[in-house]
Assembly symmetry: C2
Amino acid sequence: MRRGELNLITDVPGLTVGHATDERSQSGVTTLFGARPLAAGVDVRGGAPGVRETDALAPDALVGQVHAIVLAGGSVFGLGAADGVAAELSHAGIGLRLLAHTRAIPIVPAAVLHDLGGDGDKSWREPPYRRLGAESVRAAGRNFALGRVGAGRGARAGRVAGGIGSASLDLGDGFVVGALVAVNSIGSVYYADGRTPHAWPYEIDGEFGGIRPERPPPLVDPAPPESRLADFARLEAGTSTVIGIVATSAALTGVECRRLAVMAHDGIARAVRPSHTPFDGDTIFAVAGGTAAIDAGALRAALVARLGSAAADCMARAIARGVHEARGS
Amino acid sequence: MRRGELNLITDVPGLTVGHATDERSQSGVTTLFGARPLAAGVDVRGGAPGVRETDALAPDALVGQVHAIVLAGGSVFGLGAADGVAAELSHAGIGLRLLAHTRAIPIVPAAVLHDLGGDGDKSWREPPYRRLGAESVRAAGRNFALGRVGAGRGARAGRVAGGIGSASLDLGDGFVVGALVAVNSIGSVYYADGRTPHAWPYEIDGEFGGIRPERPPPLVDPAPPESRLADFARLEAGTSTVIGIVATSAALTGVECRRLAVMAHDGIARAVRPSHTPFDGDTIFAVAGGTAAIDAGALRAALVARLGSAAADCMARAIARGVHEARGS
């Protein structure tokens, strides 16, 4: 299993990522952009999601393509980041054109995480997210930082710092898969020893510290009975979330992307325990860049299975890497 | 983390399980029964499911309770097993009564797996599943066999024998959680070494062999490029499936059961790689026996999170255990 050149989601050709971080509120926005419209699907699995434009990606919906995807802090206020992104993209002529002379209409789905309980000045009247969204457009590039930046600036992963993670796999034949994630989970990314990542079997080249279970720790209840059910790290619906994106170069349809998103949630399950609780807003988008053509004779569902497996691996790695980078920075 | 007395789903009070195995066709049926109606939810996550009565468990649907749940081999023909179960239960007076003098109407959801490509005589004109369903009613008890019996008789897990698995956790305070599963996955339950279960971190008391990753094997592509996408064990939509049930003694609602089913899919993700592919019919039901009352002051979502985490652990263990038992028998 071989990483892509940068080991970032931007190893998928045509993708760029821009962060905008607000140090005052210790929050931010991370946006993924396609050089051209991306086929897209989504799978919302958490019990407390905060999302926008996800229904436009339903299998029977008209659009089935996106121009950018926003991950943001700020809970519901972060949804406004997509306004800033959409305005900037439209100004640049990027978006759907229903008639030749009308404005470009960018499709910009978004998912948010809750970091309002963290440090930083959250006393704004006008939330910063619209501005941060616009800034993220101007920051877009193939290289981007991991850890406590952008949407991951104020994130928590269980009881430790969370952040932005990314990872990629080059499967050969032009098929590249990548993941981008903001890790703000209620569950821990570590075994009970607090240091061995659940995702260790998926690590490549020590990308998140190279720690392996030499003396496997015992299985523990993440919220033991003596805690009277209140010992999860943070117990408010909507406070915890893994929001992310998986991408592939393969020319998949939006419906096939949806299956990639479903399978990528297995990467959350393998990297975080527990996951998909009523408190998590766990949401994954999947996009296809379309640069790698699929042979007409190929069994497409088999390719989707393989890409989905790679997407799950990349998501597990991106989560562990994001927390590794956040703790180191 | 403590197992229940039997380490079976029937450690949840009021539940019984009955197998009916047809040696001629090398297939069978496994049915879970409640001593009284069970609150229930379901999460269908695979790309090729075969199910019955699942829409009756939708959050906004009327019924929200079940009298039994059927797991069956035989692909679409296995759905008929629920006919046999429903007729037997109704004859015994078990089921909904819309009016006092009308027949009892048992709600019996079902999920099937594809074992028609395996050994055994599949040349029947009248499929055996209706009869096997009825037999499973008469076989019901607290103790039941694991491995190559009932719905697991003809199952495959990747390239090895699959079968029936079960496991339980006693969380204290009267809260017991259990899982029952028929493992017929396209993905493998082992690392690349073919012997260390993915689910090893969740094992209790060597219940599936006690094998741990002393020298962790490298991560491999489950279908490497040289295989030209055709090296998954079996490549037909609907041929592969993990179908199962998680249960708890807690007095959850049907909607809360649905979240348990969602979280229990994380147990599939942790025990099988890849999982939830377009070829898998992965489906999990969740039922609540209602014998353990929930304190009125409890934060119910926190309890659901804890029970769901236990359900995911039990599902991962039941899968590894089912294959362990199948290979040994």
